[in-house]
């Protein structure tokens, strides 16, 4: 149970890191997918297939890796 709590907290930190640095991410990775852990962008690519390949090649730890699409300025993502 404690492990699950830590996983959620870690993922939440990664999510907040993206939010806090969104303007910077938009400048550096517009229209790209990024993989973030420990608050750091560990991989980035123009599409998810390439991102997945990078994740595998770099052998990134998956559990708390956060994947996010960074829209370029002027683009809004609807859900």
């Amino acid at each position: 149970m404690e492990e699950e709590v830590q996983l959620i907290k870690k993922m939440r930190e990664n999510d907040r890191a993206i939010r806090d640095n969104f303007a910077k991410l938009r400048k550096e990775h517009p229209d790209q997918y990024v993989a973030v852990d420990n608050g750091i962008v560990l991989a980035s690519a123009d599409n998810l297939q390439l991102l997945k390949k990078q994740i595998e090649e770099k052998k990134l730890k998956l559990a708390t890796l956060l994947i996010e699409y960074i829209p370029k300025k002027g683009v809004v993502v609807l859900y």
Binding site: M1, E4, I8, M11, L65, Y69, V77, L78, Y79
Partner: protein
């Protein structure tokens, strides 16, 4: 008992991190967008693939249409979904869960690997959704 939600002022959306325990697989934390426009709750396959749960091994259930994109929904067997409450304790609920496989509508176009927490989860678990964004308050509350 409250479950805090995150209000993202940059992208203007409300999200929550939940731990998804799919049957026979380890717990998987995933970010969910809280979407009152969605009747279903689902986790994106890009996330479920982290624990090797792929839609090709699940039973197709129905299609959902989201912003012009057709999304295949596949039934997932789930033990539970867990959140951190306002005391940072784990709070578990039972719910229906689908795994989504997004169908490309236009070649080379973008889809976002988004997991959605829909109205179904709120309704079936007796949650009250509170969004008082002027006061930076966003949470679900068990009634």
């Amino acid at each position: 008992m409250k479950i805090p939600l995150d209000f993202d002022k940059e992208e203007m959306r409300v999200t929550v991190i939940a731990s998804v325990k799919l049957k026979g697989h380890p717990a998987l934390p995933a970010p969910f967008v809280v979407d009152t426009g969605s009747p279903v709750t689902f986790i994106d396959e890009f996330y479920s693939s982290k624990v090797r749960v792929l839609t090709k091994n699940l039973t197709y259930d129905h299609d959902a249409l989201m912003g012009g994109t057709r999304i295949g929904m596949y039934k997932a067997e789930i033990d539970d979904l867990s959140f951190l409450n306002d005391k940072e304790d784990l709070f578990r609920i039972n719910c229906k869960m689908f795994v989504s496989k997004t169908e490309w509508t236009r070649k080379g176009k973008t889809y976002t690997p988004t997991s959605i927490m829909g109205i179904d989860l709120l309704y079936e678990n007796g949650f009250r959704l509170v969004l008082d964004l002027a006061k930076n308050q966003a949470f679900m509350e068990k009634t």
